[in-house]
C-alpha cells in the first residue's frame, strides 16, 4: 500500500474525525437541564418527552439508518412497557432490573420477529411489521388476566431507585431517571452509528446490491440493528410504564407506531438528532393544543404530515440545513 503522508488530505482528516463530539451536541442536554429549572411544574411531561425521544431514536436507527420502513415499532415499545409493568405489578418493583428485563424481552421479540420478517422487503415487509404489532396488541388484549386488557395494567408498585430516590408526584426522580437513561442510550447509539457497523447500515439503506457485492452479511446486519432498536424501544416503554405507573393497550397500537414516525419525521430522519427536535415539538404542541381542543389534535398533526411530505421533506433539521446552505450560498 502506498504510504500516505499524515496530512495527505483534508478528506481523510474530516473522515477520521467525524465521530468527534461537537459543541452543539451538548445543546439538547443543556436544554433539558434548563427546562428542569424553568418549568418545574412540567417535569412529568418532560420525563415522558425524554422517554419518547428514546423511542424515536430507536425508530431512527431502523428507519433512518437501516432504511427499514416500519409501522410496528410500538410492538417493542409495548413489550417493554408490559414487561416492566407486569414485573412491578407482581411484586418486583426494582426499576433498573425491570428496565433491563424490558430491554431483553423486547430485543428477543425483535430478534424473533426480525428473523421472520426481514427476509421480505418493500410492501410485504411494511405489512409484516404492522401485523407483528397487531398480533401483540391482540394478544395483550385477550390475555386480560395478565395485562388487564382494555382497562390497562393496574397496581404497579415501582420501588425507589437504589432504594433511595422515590418516584414522587413532582416527577423529579422520573425526570432524572429518564434523562440519564436516555443519555446513556444516546451515547451507545451515537457510537453505533459512527462505527463501521453503523456506516454499513447506511450502506444497506443506500444500496443493498452494492452491499452484497462487497461481501457484507446484509441480513445479519439488519437483524442485529432491528434487535438493538427493539431493545431500545423496550427500554423507552419501560421508562414510561415505570414513571407513569400505568400501561395501556395503546402502548402497542398502530397509532403509537404511527406517531413515533411522525415525531421523527418532524425532526428529521437519519440524523440522530431528529428525535431530539421532533419529539419535544410534538409533545409540547400536543400538550398545548390538546388542552384547548383535544379532538382536533390529530387533524392538525395529519395536516402537518401532508404538508411536510409535500413541501418540506427532511423535517425541521432538513429545513435548517437548507436555510443554512442558502445563507452561506448568498455570501
Amino acid at each position: 500500500m502506498p504510504a500516505v503522508p499524515t496530512d495527505a488530505s483534508a478528506a481523510i482528516t474530516a473522515h477520521v474525525w467525524r465521530h468527534r463530539y461537537r459543541a452543539h451536541e451538548a445543546l439538547p442536554w443543556a436544554v433539558a437541564l434548563a427546562a428542569y429549572f424553568a418549568f418545574p411544574n412540567y417535569l412529568p411531561l418532560a420525563a415522558q418527552t425524554l422517554a419518547t425521544i428514546l423511542f424515536a431514536l430507536s425508530a431512527d436507527l431502523v428507519l433512518g439508518y437501516a432504511g427499514i420502513v416500519t409501522l410496528g415499532q410500538a410492538a417493542f415499545f409495548g413489550t417493554g412497557a408490559y414487561t416492566a409493568g407486569i414485573l412491578a405489578a407482581h411484586g418486583w418493583g426494582e426499576p433498573l432490573s425491570g428496565l433491563l428485563a424490558a430491554a431483553v424481552v423486547a430485543a428477543a421479540v425483535g430478534l424473533l420477529s426480525g428473523l421472520i420478517i426481514l427476509r421480505s422487503s418493500g410492501l410485504t415487509l411494511l405489512m409484516q411489521t404492522l401485523v407483528v404489532a397487531a398480533l401483540l396488541h391482540e394478544a395483550a388484549n385477550k390475555a386480560s388476566a395478565i395485562t388487564g386488557g382494555d382497562d390497562g395494567l393496574q397496581g404497579m408498585q415501582v420501588w425507589p431507585i437504589f432504594g433511595r430516590f422515590e418516584f414522587g408526584l413532582f416527577g423529579r426522580t422520573s425526570f432524572f431517571y429518564c434523562l440519564i437513561v436516555l443519555f446513556l442510550c444516546w451515547l451507545g447509539v451515537r457510537r453505533l452509528v459512527h462505527s463501521p457497523f453503523g456506516r454499513s447500515l447506511t450502506g444497506i439503506r443506500e444500496n443493498v446490491v452494492r452491499m452484497h457485492a462487497i461481501g457484507a452479511p446484509v441480513f445479519v446486519r439488519r437483524l442485529v440493528v432491528y434487535t438493538i432498536s427493539a431493545g431500545l424501544a423496550g427500554i423507552s416503554g419501560a421508562l414510561i410504564a415505570q414513571t407513569t405507573g400505568f400501561v395501556g393497550l395503546d402502548s402497542l397500537s398502530l397509532e403509537r407506531s404511527g406517531t413515533v414516525l411522525i415525531m421523527l419525521i418532524i425532526g428529521g430522519v437519519g440524523r440522530l438528532y431528529g428525535a431530539f427536535v421532533g419529539v419535544p415539538l410534538y409533545m409540547v404542541a400536543q400538550d398545548r393544543f390538546s388542552s384547548i381542543e383535544p379532538v382536533y389534535w390529530y387533524f392538525w398533526i395529519g395536516l402537518l404530515m401532508v404538508l411536510l411530505v409535500s413541501f418540506a421533506r427532511g423535517g425541521v433539521l432538513g429545513l435548517c440545513d437548507r436555510l443554512w446552505r442558502r445563507a452561506r450560498g448568498r455570501r
Binding site: R18, F197, N207, I214
Partner: protein, 252 residues
C-alpha cells in the same frame, strides 16, 4: 497437471424454464490474465457473471476459485475469497462521499465491517487505504464529495476503486465503460490497463475496440455456450464468430 486457474467453471448450467442461459460452460481464467467475454445480446454473459458471483445458483456444474470449489458458497463468502465484480450500471452509495464508498468496502474486506463500537475514524488504516486507492484513479480531489455529484465517468471509476478496495484475485468488470460519454472513456481504459498484475481480470464488454485493446484472450459466448476461445487474432479470423457478428444467415 497444470496449476490451478484463478477462476474455472466446469459444465456450468442454468435454465429458467425453457430458457437455457448457461449450457455446460467450461471456462478458464488464468492467474493474472486479461481476458474478455463477448457475445451477442442474450448470449448469457450477465447470467454467467451472476452464476460465478453467486447471485444465481447453477442447476449443474462446478465453479472453482484458485483451485478451491466455491459452487455452494454464498455471495459474501466468495467476495471474501477475492472474487469481485463491478456493475454495468453503477451501484454506488450515492449519498455518501467517494472516500466513504471505498472505505465501506475496505472495512468489509478487513473484517471490521461488523465492529459496533470503535468509530470508523479510529480504523485509520482502513481510511488511508481507501484514500490511497483513490489517488492513482485521479479521484483524490473528489474524495469528500458525495458520489451523486460526480460526473458519470468518475462514478465508473469509483466503482473500480470499490472493487480494488476488496483486494480481488479475480475481478469481473461488467462493461466498465458503458454509459460514459466518449470524452471520458480514456480514463476508464487507463484504469483498467493499470490494474495490478496479480489480479486476473475478466472484462465483459460489447465494445470490440476496447476488448482488442485490453484482452489477451477472448471467450465468445453464444446462447449459453462457449462458441470460441482464443487470442484476439484467432477470434477475429474465426468463421463461426464472424457469422454471429455479421448476422450472416442462410436464406433458402
Amino acid at each position: 497437471m497444470s496449476a490451478a486457474a484463478a477462476l474455472e467453471t466446469r459444465r456450468l448450467s442454468k435454465s429458467f424454464g425453457a430458457l437455457t442461459v448457461a449450457n455446460g460452460i467450461d471456462f478458464r481464467l488464468e492467474r493474472g490474465a486479461r481476458q474478455a467475454l463477448i457475445g451477442p445480446n442474450g448470449a448469457g454473459k450477465t447470467s454467467f457473471v451472476n452464476l460465478v458471483t453467486g447471485a444465481l445458483a447453477p442447476d449443474a456444474g462446478h465453479i472453482h476459485l484458485d483451485g478451491a470449489e466455491i459452487t455452494a458458497l454464498a455471495q459474501a463468502a466468495r467476495v471474501k475469497r477475492g472474487l469481485v465484480r463491478t456493475f454495468q450500471v453503477t451501484q454506488l452509495f450515492r449519498g455518501l462521499s467517494v472516500l466513504e464508498n471505498v472505505t465501506l468496502a475496505v472495512c468489509e474486506r478487513r473484517g471490521i465491517g461488523g465492529d459496533m463500537w470503535r468509530p470508523v475514524g479510529r480504523h485509520r488504516e482502513a481510511v488511508e487505504e481507501a484514500y490511497a486507492l483513490l489517488e492513482p484513479l485521479g479521484l483524490a480531489a473528489d474524495a469528500a464529495r458525495p458520489v451523486a455529484t460526480l460526473a458519470y465517468g468518475h462514478q465508473r471509476l469509483v466503482e473500480i476503486a470499490i472493487a480494488l478496495g476488496l483486494a480481488p484475485k479475480v475481478l469481473l468488470l461488467d462493461e466498465p465503460a458503458a454509459g460514459v460519454p466518449s470524452g471520458e472513456t480514456g480514463r476508464i481504459i487507463a484504469a483498467v490497463e493499470s490494474l495490478p498484475a496479480d489480479i486476473a481480470a475478466l472484462i465483459i464488454e460489447h465494445d470490440i475496440d476496447l476488448v482488442f485493446r485490453l484482452a489477451q484472450r477472448i471467450t465468445v459466448l453464444v446462447q449459453g455456450r462457449v462458441l470460441a476461445e482464443g487470442a484476439p487474432e484467432q477470434i477475429a479470423a474465426d468463421q463461426a464468430v464472424r457469422r454471429v457478428y455479421l448476422g450472416e444467415r442462410d436464406r433458402r
